[in-house]
């Protein structure tokens, strides 16, 4: 009898013990997992237009901004007529671009519709860009590493948690660079991202908030919008083959753009 009482007490203790909160991807129902592409719900009209929907960062006096460039801004301006048949070589490092989101819509996100892929696991979300690069968003309650033990990187160091189906991420430890909307960042700058899913799981809004009391008068906030990548039928299922592009820095054609053709048209 005594043993039964003891067993019952142990079982009761187990059942009534405080529940250890674990991070569970997509606990609110919809899941971030899968392929996404950016959309243009505002009808901005061109790549340059995308920079226009990002509000201007309110910088402290004396802080030099990162410019308001759109897609790929910052390359050399053409001077004079360009010879026929000679390709434009427009950037020296096509695959590194601005590095870690500099001058574009956000980390691993381009101002064009280059896709992104999420893999959700219990302790980590892996966020991969279509043209290479990956971010690790840790959900295991770790903190950011001591800056003296870690070199800044273009993507920084990210930790996250779920609030329902919304993934909330904090990132710091960036290399110095530009931020959309004319902002800038340093290794001390903090970025908060909210990956907000629509109830049906088909739309994604990423809300970016850059904060740095040495740079911004107030948090610099903007949003980017996505939908699930278009699917194609394969063996009776709908799948996405979208996220397989890779930018090869060793390929000369990656640096090449327009080749003004020789003119053979006769009037």
């Amino acid at each position: 009898m005594g043993e039964r009482m003891l067993l019952a007490a142990v079982l009761l203790a187990c059942v009534s013990a405080p529940v250890v909160h674990t991070q569970r991807p997509g606990a609110g129902g919809a899941r971030l997992e899968g392929d996404w592409v950016r959309i243009d719900p505002d009808g901005v009209g061109s790549f340059d237009g995308f920079s226009g929907v990002v509000p201007a960062a309110q910088l402290l006096p004396g802080v030099t901004g990162g410019g308001r460039g759109g897609r790929g801004r910052g390359g050399p301006e053409p001077t004079g007529p360009h010879p026929e048949g000679v390709p434009y070589i427009v950037v020296a490092q096509p695959c590194s671009g601005g590095g870690g989101g500099r001058g574009n819509g956000g980390l691993l996100i381009n101002p064009d519709s280059g896709g992104v892929h999420f893999v959700e696991q219990k302790d980590e979300v892996i966020f991969a860009g279509e043209r290479g690069g990956v971010r690790h968003i840790y959900l295991d309650r770790r903190g950011h590493p001591d800056p003296s033990h870690r070199a800044p990187t273009p993507a920084g160091h990210s930790i996250g948690r779920y609030e329902g189906s919304t993934l909330v991420v904090e990132t710091t430890g960036f290399t110095a660079g530009a931020v959309p909307g004319g902002g800038v960042r340093t290794p001390e700058t903090r970025l908060a991202e909210r990956f907000e899913l629509s109830p049906d799981g088909r739309r994604l809004t990423i809300v970016y908030t850059w904060e740095d009391p040495k740079i911004y008068q107030k948090p610099h906030v903007y949003r980017l919008y996505f939908e699930r990548a278009p699917a194609v039928k394969s063996n009776g299922a709908l799948v996405s083959y979208a996220l397989e592009e890779w930018c090869d820095a060793g390929d000369p054609i990656e640096k090449q753009s327009i080749v003004p053709p020789k003119q053979t048209i006769k009037k």
């Binding site: 243009d40 719900p41 801004r73 695959c95 273009p154 939908e227 753009s257 048209i265």
Partner: protein, 144 residues
């Protein structure tokens, strides 16, 4: 391997892996705010990464802007990006008539950044997700 070496390699690896791609190249050489219509015949078709390219021959004709006459190199997006807008390897072939709207080069060279092509039925095939306000569409999630 020493711990310090491992840590160093890890940091280097993370830095390399974290590098983002802003774009394949600058678009500063195009007048991105200027939309020009071109109408001609496809003379070369390259369905390739990082940018689809094709050339268009435009001959003088009634209704054709004389300033658009000549052979033009038209630059699109990557194969992935254009596929998601409905383009395929066979959307056009050499000899096909084509009507398109694009952003011309600032220096007057015969180059165009593609905005969209206009199909015979009047529908548009966009280069990418950017839309003019008069044609804001949301992707359906399934390729057309």
């Amino acid at each position: 391997m020493k711990t310090s070496t491992r840590v160093g390699l890890a940091v280097v690896g993370l830095a390399l892996a974290s590098v983002s791609v802003a774009a394949h190249h600058s678009f500063a050489m195009f007048e991105m705010d200027k939309n020009v219509e071109y109408q001609g015949v496809v003379s070369e078709w390259k369905w390739q990464n990082p940018h689809v390219h094709f050339t268009v021959d435009i001959k003088p004709a009634p209704g054709i802007d004389p300033q658009t006459v000549g052979r033009w190199d038209v630059e699109g997006g990557s194969v992935n990006i254009m596929s998601r807008q409905g383009w395929t390897r066979t959307s056009y072939k050499v000899g096909d008539p084509i009507r398109l709207v694009g952003h011309p080069m600032k220096d007057g060279s015969k180059g165009i950044s593609l905005f969209y092509s206009i199909r015979p039925d009047g529908t548009r095939l966009y280069h990418d997700i950017a839309r003019p306000k008069d044609d804001v569409k949301k992707t359906s999630g399934v390729l057309p």
